[in-house]
């Protein structure tokens, strides 16, 4: 029961905020709010990995980008030249393609967003296992460096590859019709439905993750965090548990990437950048590491502020600074800090 209280609060807040924007005629806020919801999806997944399983990843923007870029590429590339390719014929028969018109009225053939979604998620899972199996054997700084390396590779790949639009990224990504009546798109008329879709997904993710951390598996993850050897000797397949958690958080990042890309109608290389990964880590840290709700609250607030341009051109610098300050003064996160104590610590350090 206790577990459902914050969830109910989340749903009520989401509804309240939408009603407020409606009543005050500030519906334009729904766009950053929707985008912040998708970023929060990455952040709560990373929180599970970092805060509970105790494994850092400085490459999660890479998984976000894998999802977003694959979906964007598959749904925008014209496949007409390959029409007779047997694979494409099969896909066509399975209903995995859509035909449309380009801006000159010529016929074009694309992969259906659902097929692109499935493909992007499968590839994300494969990459996450492929990276996770060797890399999760490392600990501490070594793991941080290795995941950073992965993030850099993804970034350089999308930046260098014409398939992914090089420095321009991919634009004109179509809407993603989830089911009749609801499509992921940034269109004016679907602003409210997309706001609820995004926050509904966050609520679902929170429900699943909160259940997980209170389960036998969550207990094992926290135990791995604290005493890995002893936990293994207790019958926990620690390598597998860390790996599964890594994959779950990667999939959440990829789903966020896919949905946000269709919502924005495009994706650019900055989404794959190292600063994005650092930002996600900074937000998990400020939320209190092992605190899913803290990560969600901090992630939503900071991302909304950032998306509204409140940090100006110092955006990335702000998140770098947050990371330093949190590590120095409040390693248990901002919400885990009692203010007087924090001030005392600050003063003591000043002496």
């Amino acid at each position: 029961m206790k577990r459902h209280l914050p969830l109910a609060l989340l749903v009520l807040t989401a509804i309240g905020v939408q009603q407020l924007t409606h009543a005050t005629g500030t519906a334009f806020y729904l766009t950053p709010l929707t985008m912040a919801a998708y970023y929060s999806l990455v952040i709560v997944g990373l929180c599970l990995l970092m805060g509970y399983a105790g494994q850092i990843s400085l490459g999660h923007a890479g998984f976000f980008a894998i999802g977003g870029y694959l979906s964007a590429m598959l749904t925008t590339r014209d496949l007409t030249p390959y029409q007779d390719n047997p694979v494409l014929v099969l896909l066509d028969k399975l209903g995995c393609t859509v035909t449309g018109q380009d801006m000159f009225g010529g016929a074009v053939l694309h992969v259906h967003p659902w097929a692109a979604f499935a493909c992007a998620i499968l590839i994300t899972i494969a990459v996450a296992y492929g990276i996770g199996i060797p890399v999760l054997k490392l600990k501490g700084h070594y793991l941080a460096m290795a995941t950073l390396g992965f993030g850099i590779i993804v970034y350089r790949l999308v930046l260098a590859s014409p398939l992914f639009g090089e420095a321009d990224g991919i634009s004109e990504v179509p809407a993603f019709p989830l089911f009749p009546g609801l499509a992921v798109s940034g269109g004016f008329e679907s602003r409210v439905s997309n706001y609820y879709l995004a926050w509904g997904m966050v609520a679902c993710a929170m429900w699943l993750l909160a259940n997980l951390i209170h389960s036998r598996v969550g207990r094992a993850l926290r135990a791995i965090h604290g005493a890995e050897d002893a936990t293994n000797a207790m019958g926990v397949n620690t390598a597998r548990y860390k790996l599964n958690t890594f994959v779950i958080s990667a999939v959440l990042a990829a789903v966020a990437g896919i949905f946000l890309t269709h919502y924005n109608g495009g994706i650019g290389p900055s989404e794959a950048g190292i600063m994005k990964s650092v930002r996600y880590v900074a937000i998990v840290a400020i939320g209190g590491m092992a605190n899913l709700w803290g990560a969600l609250v901090m992630g939503s607030l900071l991302n909304i502020m950032s998306l509204r341009g409140m940090f100006g051109s110092y955006d990335d610098a702000v998140f770098g600074l947050i990371l330093i300050v949190i590590m120095l003064f409040a390693p248990r996160g901002l919400l885990g800090l009692s203010l007087p104590q924090g001030l005392k610590r600050l003063l003591k350090r000043g002496e």
Binding site: L208, L209, N211, L212, H214, S215, R216, V217, G218, R219, A220, R222, A223, H225, G226, A227, D229, A230, T231, N232, A233, M234, G235, V236, N237, T238, N244, I248, A290
Partner: protein, 253 residues
Amino acid sequence: MLLEVNNLNRRFGGLQAVSDVNFSVHPGMIKAVIGPNGAGKTTLFNLISGALPPSSGAIHFKGLPIHGLPPFRIAERGMARTYQNIKLCPGMTALENVMIGRHCRSRAGFISGMLNLPWTRREEIAIREKSLELLALLDIADLAEVEATSLAFGQQRAVEFARALAMEPELLLLDEPAAGLNIYETAEVARLISTINQRGITVLLVEHDMSLVMDISHEIVVLSFGQKIAEGTPAEIQHNSEVIKIYLGEDDA
């Protein structure tokens, strides 16, 4: 035979920490491994529990080879251990630490955990009840909700003991269970080991406290510089001249 150790060797660089050790453990007994500091007792436990791979040699548990298996596989087969320097999970309560011990006796996975299915909820309740029972057996039920690593030393030993018992092992390895305890607590531990042994758990223990070892064990293996120098009943060991020499030091002998 519950446990069989054959020609077991473990080297650390040039150091032969365990050297051609052979012994076996019958089901139902309490067997002790003694020896001076650095004799290789903890290393022997690490080899048996899978924390370290042997350099050579074989270990059979319930008739099947376990050398080379990861610790969690060995735990699943019914072996539990405690540590000389206690290894509890920080940030978790005493109860949660014991509940970890139930891991290998329960089965909720990632999917069922995320969906919080009715059977996983029932399983959680059973895990909690069993763990509370064990805390009560060790007289620390009132500490269930206290963070385990903030407890007094003796209480931490008790939590670790409860955690190992939660696994319902057939073989329990205890590495110096009385180290750092006062004489009352040591007597308590001795009583406890006998109790759980009477309940059918075979015990292999390393201990420094001679009176404890002589009181409760059925058989003793003596290690020195990695080698087994004697094996027998407490009475036999007490009168073994090699053992006396080691324990009293050659100079005084």
